[in-house]
């Protein structure tokens, strides 16, 4: 029943990260997180609130859980801001999502999801990527990819597909959206700089 524990953790962390800080102290923020975890167990017509959320977002990837755990620890001031690699996280998982999800629409006979059932090629690629990211000291990305691979080794999700440990639509959507926002901001800054000397 690991997937249900995962659902409760997902519920608590998603709501915690979506809520504003309310100016709470670190202790009260921790209490809020614990309260959200407790709320996730509230039953409604035979299912918990976490199960309802899971019905719509399915079981999240392990990478997402690590990413959200990192976000929660940051919110609780237990981790310093990532020194490197936040953008690399966004790029890696946005790229994975863009590679994987359009193919599920059946546009061609190529189905990258299949590589997750016979994962040696994908594993080799992710291993090289993880080692490269570790060399660059992109700790968050390394933790996400290594955590997902460790979880896949022990089969803690019901899926036998490596992809399901690596990426999910929520993570993909978040990374694509965040990259888009960063790109728009960068474009705005560039435009402002271009206008500056003309005045």
């Amino acid at each position: 029943m690991i997937n249900l524990w995962q659902a409760h953790l997902s519920f608590a962390m998603i709501v915690f990260l979506l809520l504003p800080g309310f100016g709470l102290s670190r202790l009260w923020r921790a209490v809020l997180l614990a309260a959200l975890l407790a709320i996730s167990f509230i039953p409604l017509d035979g299912l918990t609130l976490a199960a309802y959320l899971r019905s719509h977002i399915d079981d999240l990837a392990i990478t997402t859980l690590v990413f959200m755990a990192w976000g929660c620890l940051r919110r609780l001031d237990l981790l310093p801001p990532a020194q490197h690699g936040q953008i690399s996280v966004l790029i890696i998982f946005a790229a994975m999502a863009l590679l994987l999800y359009p193919a599920t629409l059946g546009l061609s006979y190529l189905d990258p999801y299949r590589f997750g059932y016979s994962p040696r090629i994908l594993l080799t690629f992710i291993a090289l990527l993880t080692l490269g990211l570790f060399y660059l000291r992109h700790g968050l990305a390394v933790a996400m990819l290594a955590g997902a691979t460790l979880a896949f080794m022990f089969g803690i999700k019901p899926s036998h597909n490596y992809w399901d440990y690596l990426v999910d639509p929520l993570l993909g959507l978040y990374c694509c959206g965040a990259l888009l926002v960063l790109a728009v901001r960068a474009a705005c800054r560039w435009l402002i700089r271009q206008r500056g000397p003309a005045r």
Binding site: L123, T149, F152, N161, W163, D164, P169
Partner: protein, 432 residues
Amino acid sequence: MRIRRPRLAVFVTYIALVCLFASVWLTHPAPVHSSFALMSPTMAVANKVAKPIYTSRFASSGLLDFVHSSAVTALPDGSLMSVWFAGTREGAADVQVRSAVFNATTGEWGAERVLATRDSTQQGTRKYIRKLGNPVVALAPDNRLWLFYVSVSMGGWAGSAVNVMVSDDFGENWSAPRQLITSPFLNISTLVRSAPVFHADGSIGLPVYHEFLGKFAEYLYLSPDGNVIDKYRISRGNNSLQPTVVPLDGQRGIALLRYAGETHHRVLATRTEDAGQTWSEPYPLDPSNPNSSLAAVATPEHGLLVALNDLQEGRFKLSLYGTDAKMNDWRSVRDLDKSPDPLGNPFSPQAYKEIIGHEFRDSSGALRQPLEAQFLSNLDTRVCTSRGCEFEYEYPYFIRSPDGMYHLVYSWNNTFIKHVTFNDAWLSERLK
């Protein structure tokens, strides 16, 4: 410069990462794909039955519910189990997956039994379930009985997931339902409709299809314990659904597909030469297909028997055809059920009642004969509109049992599940 003298912790982390990925690489080889398991009907028994046999019975017995999407499998004692979904209407929250067992001695179908409900599926999968649909049942070579059916948590049928239940005692007791993980996108948009195919090592080939934006077919490859371990695309694009897969030998097989496009409205076919791993580009066949489900089985002469609505539009006629393995030569075997009007035009309620009453008696058998008056007084708005009352015969599901008999179940005006059975002698006579 990024390169610095590696500290011990860094070195250990490198080693740990390498060991982690190497371990997973070693413990996760590609699944071995097995050839199709070919069922050889007991020809000795089949040959003894020299007399042509063709009978029909209703498998369902309820009179009030909308019934649809039936499937059937043969059990070792010669009996059959059929499953279908029933409820106030398709997609209603009260839809249940029901079953009945055919007693080979009496030649009658027994009482209905509920196998899965929205609530039982919700409890088993720990997910909110809006509606159920499309059950299929199949007995594996190891005598485990598998039930696959569709459930939806959000949206329409395009948001479907496939659930599985298994029985080790031929349907007396069933495991709790669980969901197969079939898609990376929220595990939605996978539907099942056609008969599973078993492979030589006990693995299960489950023909499925997708309806979310694209409409295409896939072949799920399940381990003998029912976990998805691979999948293969049968078709692509936006015009094919509900593959029915017929193995011809250990490696070769044919999939016939429901055509859901807007161009030619014909049955599609595709072939595999490697037990379902790769499929040829689907191509249209002679028979028409009005975007309706079809079913096929192999015959001893290496041809196919196909049940389908050979119509451009509507489902008012369900026909049985025979074809050769190349699917070039199509011969009509029999119209299994059809509207008396060749164009499927509606009838007045009075005329309809007379026709359907006669058809009911043809298939009711001794057990359901007493239901006739109630059935005729209950003809409801499902079959009748302001235009009149129409006939609908659809969603065939075809098997050949180990004793060589052919069994076909289908939706009979969405009021009953009808079972038609015949033997090779009858078939030979029809194909003369």
